[in-house]
């Protein structure tokens, strides 16, 4: 038996039957990482001591013969924007290169309480700003399916760690597509939860009205196990909601699936289109009703998103001032210079770009033209989805217009990177959940189907994803 092939569910059953111990499972992953990760670059930092002590603890619980949680003893990786107490948390930035997390994020507390094993922290675009992990200050994560191509981003390290069997599952975060895009590029399952379903406490903030932590996993069933474990109300996050996940007994036959006509026009790779249309056809043959819908404000989504996000970035990243924590320039002559130089040295090009765009959009004289207008359009986009869900139960779309692109191909053109979010960011502006499910390949390169649901309908999304997964 290859321990690294097992899903959470299978590994759980193996632990239960005492086929292997959590320590054995953990050591298998650690040795795979040491052997393989030089090539992939999924991890920024291994938390080996923590992992082995957690595995030992899990083994004690398991050997006591009592029932134990699905996640107990199962090794995972964590995006390096999520705090794990006592471990470094860099957010992929030089400004936090030596920062040690003083506490656990709420999702980490929850995982720990269920006996999880944390192998290490995974690479990301600096402050989760990007679609390829090329914006990481430390390294580029390679796509396990083709090492010349990007893993996607910003949770590229998380998706690559699961796809390359260097973790059984991972936690990522999604602001404009940062879970779904790398999941699609790497060929794994990624769930972006409803805004408010999972606590953001302990997630390094990028754009607080959009950021959400979510699972990246091998299967839909695993994604559901993780989502159940991390969701719910948290007093430390005022936007989190009291939400108890209940599995839905979705009847597939007669279910209405919307296909947004705006998502299948210009710019989509014909091969991607073919794969998605083939899935739609197959689902139809199984009794699903396919209905064309319109999301008329789609064309404004990217511009709207790239005003709102930088605006929130410029406020959120003001905390990195060289005073409280993180990189601090020591040679400055006065306080003002400490700010200028610490931030000038500590931030890479993409955070700088977004801080400047955001500062501009919020500055006196431009506020109405940019930020206020973008907020109005955000509401139009939200209404597009509200209207769509009056007619349909779920929406199918591609995750990305193209499969994983070559490393370096887009680095000199920030705007073309931004356009990668076209199918994933409208969902975020509306605050609704969506999953990326691998449904096909172009050569070696995986293609993801996006299944979008209404607020707090993760259960329906997961039921449908599980149906499609079995249909493939």
């Amino acid at each position: 038996m290859n321990l690294l092939e097992l899903t959470i569910k299978e590994a759980h059953d193996g632990l239960k039957k005492k086929d292997f111990s959590s320590t054995e499972l953990t050591r298998a992953y650690l040795s795979e990482i040491k052997k393989n990760d030089k090539k992939i670059g999924a991890y920024l930092n291994l938390t080996e001591d923590l992992a082995l002590s957690q595995a030992k603890k899990a083994d004690e619980i398991i050997s006591s013969g009592k029932d134990f949680e699905f996640l107990a003893g199962i090794p995972c990786s964590v995006k390096d924007a999520i705090l794990v107490e006592g471990e470094k948390c860099t957010a992929g930035s030089k400004i936090l290169e030596n920062y040690v997390a003083p506490y656990d994020a709420t999702v980490i507390k929850k995982l720990k309480s269920k006996g999880a094993v944390i192998l290490g922290k995974t690479n990301l675009d600096e402050f989760a700003m990007g679609v390829s992990t090329e914006n990481s200050a430390f390294k580029v994560t390679k796509n396990p399916n083709d090492l010349n191509r990007v893993a996607g981003g910003s949770s590229g390290g998380s998706a690559a760690s699961v796809a390359s069997k260097e973790a059984c599952y991972s936690l990522g975060s999604d602001t404009g597509g940062s879970i779904r895009l790398p999941a699609s590029f790497c060929g794994v399952v990624g769930l972006n939860p409803t805004y408010g379903a999972v606590s953001r406490s302990g997630l390094v903030a990028m754009a607080s009205s959009l950021d959400q932590i979510g699972p990246i996993a091998k299967t839909v069933e695993d994604a559901e196990i993780i989502f159940k474990a991390i969701s719910g109300k948290d007093p430390l996050d005022a936007t989190s909601k009291d939400y108890n996940f209940e599995k839905s007994n979705l009847k597939i036959e007669g279910l209405k699936i919307g296909i947004p006509k705006e998502y299948f026009t210009d710019g989509i790779d014909p091969e991607v289109k073919k794969i998605i249309e083939n899935i739609i056809k197959k689902a139809k043959e199984r009794g699903v009703k396919i209905i064309e819908i319109s999301l008329p404000n789609t064309e404004y989504a990217i511009a709207c998103y790239y005003i709102i996000v930088p605006s929130e970035v410029s406020a959120n990243l003001a905390r990195f001032d060289g005073i409280k924590y993180g990189l601090s320039n020591k040679s400055s002559k006065d306080l003002f210079e400490v700010y200028l130089k610490s931030r000038g040295e500590g931030f890479g090009p993409e955070p700088k770009r977004r801080i400047l765009v955001g500062t501009y959009a919020l500055s006196s004289g431009y506020y109405d033209e940019y930020y206020k207008k973008a907020q109005e359009i955000r509401n139009l986009i939200r209404e597009d989805f509200i209207n769509a869900f009056k007619k349909v139960d779920l929406i199918f779309s591609p995750v990305s217009p193209i499969p994983a692109f070559k490393i370096g191909e887009k680095t000199n053109d920030p705007l073309s990177m931004y356009l990668m979010d076209i199918y994933t960011c409208p969902v975020k502006l509306a605050g609704i959940p969506a999953i990326s499910l691998p449904v096909g390949k172009i050569g070696n390169l995986p293609v993801g189907l996006q299944i979008i649901g209404n607020h707090f309908q993760e259960n329906n999304i997961l039921s449908m994803a599980s149906f499609i997964e079995k249909m493939l």
Binding site: P102, Y300, Y325, K352, I355, L356
Partner: protein, 96 residues
């Protein structure tokens, strides 16, 4: 096209030092990004049923104004991250 002076001004507002080459690069990239935003001018927001209200999403969620339990070990860890420290205070450079 956004001017070099404007980029300098925004960078100062944002407390961000830009080196000479960096300034020109940002000027070019920012101009392209801001030009792209012009697309939003043709969006019709006049029929919008609801005005933007992010607060609505969090309605009734504010916590009670109570004194939280003290956590000394957390406080110590947070203070350990100060770049410069005197006793339990952050030490900073001269302001003027």
């Amino acid at each position: 096209m956004i001017s070099k002076e404007e980029v300098k001004h925004i960078a100062k507002l944002a407390r961000l030092e830009l080196k000479e080459g960096e300034l020109e690069k940002m000027q070019k990239e920012l101009s392209a990004i801001l030009d792209y935003f012009d697309l939003l001018k043709k969006a019709n927001t006049s029929k919008l049923k609801r005005q933007p209200s992010f607060a609505k999403a969090t309605e009734g969620q504010a916590r009670k104004d109570e004194i939280a339990a003290k956590n000394h070990s957390l406080a110590e860890k947070i203070m350990n991250a100060f770049p410069d420290r005197k006793d339990d205070y952050i030490k900073v450079k001269a302001i003027l």
